[in-house]
Assembly symmetry: C2
C-alpha cells in the first residue's frame, strides 16, 4: 500500500512535471516567435535581447529566464522557423495532377513567399552564414538544410513522375541550384529590383523541363 501510494504520488509528480514542461516549451516558442520579428527586421548582428523585448510584449528578463543565453534563444528561433518552412510546397506536390499544374502551383508559392516573407528568408541566410563562424548553430542549420533539400527533391521527383521521367541530377545539386537562384532573387528583391521576382519565375520555368 505504501508502494501504491508512492507509485501514485510519483505518477502525479511525473504528470505535473510533464505539464510544466509543456507550458514551459509553449512559452519558449511564444518568445521565439516574438524574437523572430525583430531578428527578421534587423538581422543577427544588430539584434539585442533588449531590442527584442522592446518590440514584444515581454521584458528582457523573461528571455533570460527561458533561455540560458542568446545563442540558446536564436537556436530555438531557427528550429521553430524550420517547422513552418519545410511544408510550404507539400499541398501543391500532392494535389497537382499534371506538370503544368505543379509548375504553376510551385511558382505561385515561390513568388508569394519571396515577396511576403522576405524578412524571414533573409534571416535564414544570415543565420546559415553565422553557422560558418559559430559552431553552436551548425547542427541545427545543417539539419534544416537537409530538410530543405528533401523538400526540393519531393517537388522534383513528383515533377519527373508526372512526365514519366527521372530527375537528371542529384538532390544536392538540385537544391544548390534552387537555393542559389532564390538567394540571388531575394537580394535583388530587397534592393527594390522590380524584375527580381519575374526573372526568378522565368528562370525556374525554363529550368524545370531541363532537369527532369
Amino acid at each position: 500500500m505504501a508502494r501504491q501510494a508512492t507509485g501514485a504520488a510519483q505518477r502525479v509528480a511525473v504528470a505535473t512535471e510533464a505539464l510544466r514542461d509543456e507550458k514551459f516549451n509553449a512559452r519558449r516558442v511564444e518568445l521565439a516567435e516574438a524574437a523572430l520579428e525583430t531578428l527578421g527586421e534587423l538581422g543577427f548582428a544588430r539584434t539585442s535581447l533588449r531590442e527584442i523585448a522592446q518590440n514584444s510584449a515581454f521584458t528582457h528578463g523573461v528571455f533570460h529566464y527561458y533561455f540560458s543565453d542568446k545563442l540558446d534563444l536564436i537556436c530555438c528561433c531557427v528550429r521553430h522557423y524550420k517547422a513552418k518552412c519545410v511544408t510550404r510546397y507539400d499541398a501543391v506536390v500532392t494535389t497537382a495532377q499534371s506538370r503544368d499544374e505543379l509548375t504553376e502551383g510551385f511558382l505561385a508559392k515561390l513568388a508569394a513567399t519571396l515577396r511576403d516573407e522576405a524578412r524571414m528568408h533573409r534571416l535564414w541566410y544570415d543565420l546559415r552564414s553565422q553557422a560558418m563562424f559559430e559552431p553552436a548553430f551548425r547542427k541545427d542549420v545543417l539539419e534544416i538544410d537537409k530538410s530543405l533539400e528533401a523538400m526540393i527533391w519531393r517537388i522534383a521527383t513528383r515533377y519527373a513522375e508526372l512526365g514519366n521521367k527521372k530527375p537528371a541530377s542529384s538532390p544536392a545539386a538540385l537544391y544548390a541550384l534552387f537555393d542559389g537562384l532564390f538567394q540571388s532573387a531575394l537580394l535583388r528583391h530587397l534592393a527594390n529590383d522590380e524584375k527580381a521576382v519575374p526573372d526568378l519565375l522565368d528562370e525556374v520555368r525554363r529550368l524545370l523541363p531541363t532537369i527532369c
Copy 2:
C-alpha cells in the same frame, strides 16, 4: 609669366595631391587587408574596430582616421577582396587545351581555395547576407556577385567551346548552381566534414558535361 608660374604651381599642387591620394589609398588598402584577417576569423557580427586594431600593427584610432565609419571600412574590405577573387580561374581558362585539362585545373583550384581560404569565403557569404539588411552594402555586393557570375560564365563557355558546344543554361542559373554547391560544401568543410571537398569535386565533375 605670372600665368605660367601659377600654372606650374597648380601642376605641382595637383601632382602632390595625387601623390597624397595614392598614399592615402595605399594605406586604406593596407588597413583593409589587416581588417580582413579579423573579419574572416570572427565574422561581421562579432568584429569590433578595437579587435581589428589589436590583431594588427595599428591602433584603433588610425581606422577612424582613414575611414569615415565602420561601414566605410567594411565596404573597402569587400571591394578589395573582390579584386583578388575574380581572377582565380583565369589562368586555367586561358591555358587549358582540352576539356579534361580545364576540368582538372578548375577542380584543383576549387578544392585549394575551399580548403585554404575558407575564412575569406565565409566572410563573403556573411557580408552578402548583411547586404540583405544593410543597404550600404548592396551596391558593392551586387557588383561582386555580377563579376563572380561572369567568372563562372567564362569557365563554362570555354568548357563548351572545347567540346564544340554551347552552354545549356543561363549565366545566372549556372552561377546559382556553383555558388549553391560551394556554399554548402564550405559549411560542411567548416563543420569538419572530411567528405565535403571530395563530394563537391565529384558533384562538379558529374555536372560539367551535363550543362554544356
